[in-house]
Amino acid sequence: MSVSGKVVAAYGNMITASFETDVQQNEVAYVITGDRKLKSEVIRVRGTVCDMQVFEDTRDIKVGDPVEFTGNLLVVELGPGLLEQIYDGLQNPLPQLAQQSGLFLKRGIYLDCLDRSKQWEFTPAAKVGDSVQAGDVLGTVPEGIFEHKIFVPFDFIGTAKVKKVAEKGSYTVAETVAEVEDEKGEMHNLTMVQEWPIKIALAKYKERILPVEPLVTGCRIIDTFYPVAKGGTACIPGPFGSGKTVLQQLISRYANVDIIIVAACGERAGEVVETLREFPHLKDPYTGKTLMERTIIICNTSSMPVAAREASIYTAVTLGEYYRQMGLNVLLLADSTSRWAQALREMSGRLEEIPGEEAFPAYLQTRIAEFYERAGYVTLEDGSKGSVSIIGTVSPAGGNFEEPVTQGTLAVVGAFLGLTWARSNARRFPAIDPLISWSKYVEQMKETLDKIDPNWVAMVKDAQKMIFAGDEIKKRMDVVGEEGTSLADFIIYLKAELIDAVYLQQNAFDDVDAYNTMERQVYVFKKLTEVLRKEITAQDKEDARQIFFRLTALIKNWNSSEWESDDFKKFEEQINEFIGS
């Protein structure tokens, strides 16, 4: 039963409404202004009135405008057909919206999130007489290369008896595929589509386990030095223009997961366009299908309504959790979580809450933690494993990491990939600064990583030490000049520079170098370690510099040669000669 109310005040994207009977915190309501219904969410209840954030432009709203409370929390639709979609922050499909309302977004139009006319090839799994509960599998439909499981709704209460199951055949998402009787003897028609409230974690699994499997991104500095685990979390803070988005775009292409969810949260529309125009033509390096077939784009860019931006990352993570329930590995890329935090701040300001640092609300840290906690590696009820990993960018004001969003995020994530202007201005891309970044997964995944090579972690740490040593020498050299530096120190500095030039840096625009499989990284890194361990004999600094020039050029050429190609072998031989000599 919907409850009705009336607008009593409006300011910015917040309205205050009176209501009859009862309302629920976070329930969805519609403000009716003229002939439009504007979606809103209750965010505070005070006696007989409640404050709501409106997910649309609030122009024309008047005191006295009717409000319809729905009694439902803000939900997403879950079912086959989510893949390849481009949604706004509230799961409105943008291409369909374009067909209906033209060039510009019109407010108050809410379309079906899942295509109601598309037929899916259903294969039943449950049988008449089975006892089922929330999250049990009723059947499957193929969605691209995946077997999309159709579940008993995750919010189904108690145990039910299956009374009827649809036969193998084609059905739309809205057609009944099973009829079940609940404990009270009531019948329920179950379809392929169900809803789940986005702000509540979908946690229907047996247990959460420690992430120990590496999530390979194809980016050497990440996978080798600061790895991320499947089911883990990482953040990429960096000032503007330091390469956060480019890095995420690379990861979205090459990461070895089943499904990618791109959440463009309050950033430029132009950047999403690259993804949505190019992914249908780019190949997934693991399956050979197009990248679009494993991707969902949630696009609530900077000029779209701020409240919907706040919702967008929850929409994204809920879709991720849904696919995890099928035993898949999902990676959520959120760009940028700072814009989401700013949306929280805007709303908190309107609510006149007591502000914390930089006017962010006091609960910012809790919200950040809650969000990243929705990542995880889990064992599902049927014993299979699934994961949601989250990599979020952070856009710190003034590029200063001592600000609330960066700090709040660093406190909860497993890996920190910090980008700096020092590196991006020097065109050292990806501009992840090895001197400040860290990953807790190196230790956590040590057992798995050492399967690569018994000394893997030790080798990585050695290289890291050399990078730090090189940096120390560089700093001294900036003061005393090259003349005041010993040849031995100078060579350590050059070795650190070599690691940087041929391993940490990676050319995003070179077809081969842009992405390295783990196999290749291991091979190259071992060779590099060999080179680094080699005693370099040089007459003087100029001579040393020349030696490293040649070495750098050689390994760079090797990096851009196709794996195991003739060129690859040729350059490897030349490197071997170099070490041998």
Binding site: A10, D60, I61, V63, G64, L97, L103, V306, A397
Partner: protein, 440 residues
Amino acid sequence: MREIVTRIKEITGSIASLHATGVGLGELAEIQSPGRKTLGQVIRVSGDVVTLQVFGGTKGLSTNDHVRFLGHPMQVKYGESMLGRIFNGSGVPIDGGPEPVEEDIPIGGPSFNPANRIIAKQMIRTNIPMIDVFNSLVVSQKLPIFSIPGEPYNQVLARVGMQAEADIIILGGMGLKFDDYTFFKETFEASGVMNRVIMFIHQASDPVVECLLVPDMALAVAERFAEAGRRVLTLLTDMTSFSDALKEISISMEQIPSNRGYPGDLYSQLASRYEKAVDIEGLGDITILAVTTMPGDDVTHPVPDNTGYITEGQFYLHNGVIDPFGSLSRLKQNVVSKVTREDHNDIMNAMIRLYSDCRESRNKIAMGFKLSKWDETLLAYGEDFEKELMALEVNIPIEEALDLCWDILARHFDAIQTGMKDHLVEKYWPKKASGEKNAA
């Protein structure tokens, strides 16, 4: 027209409140004082209290004044007869001409559906080598000029306006000094482009709220022209004044500031304007070139900082030139050597690399280190680079600028020292350069 007439109850800063019912958020009101009329916009309604932001400022406003609600939000005129005209921040002509008889369109409209966007891929020629060659401006790009106050940013803006390939130029001036306003007007008139120009000018002495309307009016008009198939270049100067106006008003609304007094929604406010830049498939487009003055030359100041997070790169204006370091056009990779000449990408990189080496040699001088022969070469090269390419007066098409790049290189270096690819050297290295070195 539905009209409600009432009287003002309260006045603070640029805000006035009064009792009225049936008024919508964003609705426009006309305040009639003895001897003057000003507009205001509803920014808050609560019970029967309506809060207005008064465009003309509240100076001299009286509780006795009558307020009439117009039943629609702020609008601007749109049409061909706007071309060549100058308006203030309320959309009223200030060039002495008549009010144009044109359609009224709303300002601050909804965003372009991202699903309708296309990848930007056309270059805009400006004939300024530091832009065309080193950081090409691309159709639908949004790019600010970061500048210390006192740099010739308005001169650069005016030049781009006059020389860029665009059908229509819309200038939005915010907090513009009278001299600058006159400069733009005279420059556009003298160069004969005024008949393609529309100016919305908020002068430094005008009421602060009008400053906020300028980009919205400029971009609303730009959007309609773009939908009608026109290529529009929108010039906005100075977005720092715009942000300061936001700051002033949000503080008078008792909003809690986030950073150095600026409101927490500064990012969203700026983004909703800059994101109007668009290339509409099969129709026209909007490109935005803006000025952001950096107080104290501090790029971490909230205005340049938030701007940098929104725009697609930036030009740094330093010591009267567009600095190749720090300046970045993020969209240039879409056009460089794709729609421009094949040598563009390589020569651009080589020139910058060598110029950066030149700066290091200059540092050596500053540190009192000894210079090598190579340093001397670099220094001479750097000087020519600055004189012939960087100077703002240089005004040549990109092809000529690329040739000049080769010429400067050949004057100072052997081909091998430049690291240029052989096939490019073969094709483009000048056989006879205007200097001592020339052998390829």
